[in-house]
């Protein structure tokens, strides 16, 4: 394990911040304080952090409808994100996008996406830019097990393979697409789909940060060095339902308990680093408390922030019209 103490702390900070952000959104939404549709990432934190810790600011990612974790892991500001969720003027997209459209191009975050399977084709384009301009960057496209059935995903993997693009496809397989099980909806194996298009394809335990980090490092380093695209099939699970308000009647009580107790990537990380004597408990607890207060402050600021002005409705449709 070649991670430094700083890197380990950074990994835990990121995962805690994602956890606190989405837990807080869960409560705010339930209290009717938040508009729109929100899809929470709790339980999948190791995936976003394990991948994004291998990326630099110039590398890019494209996310999904379940995007908060990817945004935070890629460095988006949590207060600006929270303001966006409340539809405020100072939100990360001026309040115009909301949860499903968070983007920060300055951080290499090319957007969450309301269209299932919408992101990976965009990643092809970013990767083409890097290849054409001989830049040393990679682009990562996240998608779910459900999204893996969209034609856009297969088409993107094939194109990346044909053009040997520095594109990484990350399938975050949490077992469900809305209320439908992966076992029902995915014919064959997701991993085999990557292999069929000639991608370097790996299955990864998404509850284990270290495993995600290692696998991501391998494929991202290769892509940077011109060795072409890859697929990571990350097995994970989400604690909350599809979106806030979902009764999750399609999962059993035992499964919900197992996800919470045995498949929590934060707990697993904590145990590993403490057992191995890499970090101390107090360090980790400090991080947890810092995340809590940071998110609490983000919510307070967001609630107090102003809504957009009426004129804002008409701006930014075009650059010039």
């Amino acid at each position: 394990m070649q991670l430094s103490r700083e890197e380990l702390l950074k990994a835990y900070q990121g995962m805690c911040l994602i956890r606190e952000f989405d837990d807080a959104v869960h409560y705010e939404f339930a209290a009717d304080a938040m508009p729109g549709f929100v899809h929470l990432y709790v339980g999948e934190e190791a995936s976003a952090m394990g991948i994004c810790m291998n990326l630099n600011e110039k590398d890019t990612i494209a996310s999904t409808h379940r995007g908060h974790g990817h945004c935070i892991a890629k460095g988006c500001d949590v207060t600006d994100m929270m303001k966006e969720l409340y539809g405020k003027k100072d939100g990360i997209c001026g309040g115009k996008g909301g949860s499903m459209h968070i983007a920060d191009l300055s951080k290499g975050m090319l957007g969450a996406n309301g269209i299932v399977g919408g992101g990976p084709p965009i990643v092809l384009g970013a990767a083409l830019t890097y290849k054409t301009k001989k830049m040393n960057n990679v682009s990562v496209g996240f998608f779910g097990d459900g999204a893996s059935n969209q034609g856009s995903i297969s088409e993107s993997m094939n194109m990346a393979s044909v053009l040997k693009l520095p594109a990484i496809f990350v399938c975050e397989d949490n077992g469900y697409a809305e209320s439908t099980a992966r076992e029902y909806a995915v014919g064959g194996k997701i991993l085999d789909r990557g292999k069929a298009f000639g991608l370097d394809s790996h299955e990864v335990d998404g509850d284990n940060f270290f495993e995600v980090y290692e696998a991501a490092k391998h494929v991202i380093d290769n892509a940077r060095n011109g060795k072409g695209p890859a697929l990571l099939h990350i097995k994970t699970s989400k604690v909350y339902g599809h979106f806030e308000g979902d009764a999750i009647s399609y999962r059993t009580k035992e499964e919900n308990e197992r996800i919470k107790n045995d498949e929590d990537p934060l707990k697993i990380f904590k145990k590993k680093v403490i057992d191995a004597g890499l970090l101390e408990l107090t360090q980790l607890e400090n991080i947890e408390n810092e995340s809590k207060s940071k998110i609490k402050k983000a919510i307070e600021e967001s609630k107090d922030a102003a809504f957009p002005n009426p004129n804002d409705l008409l701006t930014d449709v075009y650059i010039k019209y």
Binding site: G87, H101, V186, Y250, P308
Partner: protein, 333 residues
């Protein structure tokens, strides 16, 4: 007759048509839900519960949950319609048409014409449209003008529970491809709906108010807005006609012209993007045919030429409202 919601009316239409004709099947994402899980089957019944309960009557052979794959859903439904089934395919949000438009635009809608009149494609696409749920730019669009633009597909926009049931039954029985568009904000509205099966013919607009001073032309969700404004104006001594188009393709041109000529003053209320939408189409129709009877320029109340914003105050500003419609009416009354 009993009071039912728009959601219940649609569910009942599906139930009754499926009982009557075994060729009717429902295809879509999570239209039952729970497929392959150890938990509840029929867990969702569609994202807003419209198809809930059908599974227990018809089983998974006829209530078919699919992977997320709109192109294959629309293609499969079209091919099935062409070869002997009568599918009702669900496109969860009309915005997702971006993924699968080819199957509608270049395949289903053109089969009959391209094949020299040989094809019969009794396909119904049910889909959800419109703003108001704070669902932002990719889950709030109307897009019906994109379908009215395409020859070969019929476009239906029920404005109330009674029409929803009758027009859906007609859609299913109709032998042409139909897109049946449900406004998200209407699902919880309720009204009198007969328990027995009935159908409402296409191309027959409905006069929901009759008056002498001004004509509102509306569709889907904007009908209720216009009815309310007409009622407000009545208290102020002005009587208005409200024409609910019900189907945008076929379009009841006779009723539109009659309604326009009767008052000479027309306000068209359309929630879709303002360029090349239903309002502009109807206004051209009226200008071409009834120009001499107009007493004022035609008014259109539509959103601005922008995507649908997320932020609640911006979305409220974006959408047609009673206030905007009332102001438009007063400008020409």
């Amino acid at each position: 007759m009993s009071i039912k919601t728009y959601r219940e009316a649609i569910n009942e239409a599906l139930l009754q048509e499926m009982k009557k004709d075994e060729n009717v099947i429902v295809i879509g994402e999570d239209v039952a839900g729970g497929a392959g899980t150890n938990g509840e089957q029929d867990a969702w019944g569609g994202v807003l519960g419209v198809t809930k309960g059908l599974l227990k009557h018809f089983g998974r052979e006829r209530i078919i949950d699919t992977p997320i794959t709109e192109t294959a859903i629309m293609g499969m439904a079209s091919g099935a319609a062409l070869t002997g089934l009568r599918p009702v395919a669900e496109l969860m949000f009309v915005d997702f048409m971006g993924v699968c438009f080819d199957q509608i635009l270049n395949q289903t809608a053109k089969f009959r014409y391209m094949f020299g009149g040989k094809a019969v494609t009794p396909l119904t696409i049910r889909t959800m449209y419109g703003g108001g749920l704070r669902a932002a730019s990719q889950h709030s669009q109307c897009l019906y003008p994109m379908f009215t633009h395409v020859p070969g597909i019929k476009v239906v926009l029920p404005s109330n529970p009674y029409d929803a049931k009758g027009l859906l039954i007609q859609s299913i029985r109709d032998n042409d491809p139909v897109i049946f568009m449900e406004h998200k904000n209407l699902y919880d509205t309720s009204g009198d709906v007969p328990d027995e099966s009935y159908s409402i013919p296409f191309g027959e607009a409905n006069f929901t108010r009759e008056g002498k001073d001004l004509t509102f032309i509306a569709m889907g969700q904007t009908v209720a807005i216009c009815n309310n404004v007409a009622d407000t104006l009545k208290k102020e001594g002005k009587t208005c006609t409200v024409l609910d188009l019900r189907t945008l393709s076929p379009l009841d041109e006779d009723s539109i012209l009659e309604a326009a000529e009767e008052t000479g003053k027309v306000v068209i209320v359309d929630e879709s993007y303002p360029r090349c939408n239903v309002a502009t189409d109807i206004s051209a129709l009226i200008c071409q045919n009834s120009f001499d009877s107009l007493k004022a320029g035609i008014k259109m109340v539509t959103p601005p030429h922008t995507p649908v914003p997320f932020s609640p105050p911006l979305e409220d500003l974006y959408l047609p409202s009673e206030e905007k419609v009332l102001n438009a009416a007063k400008e020409i009354l």
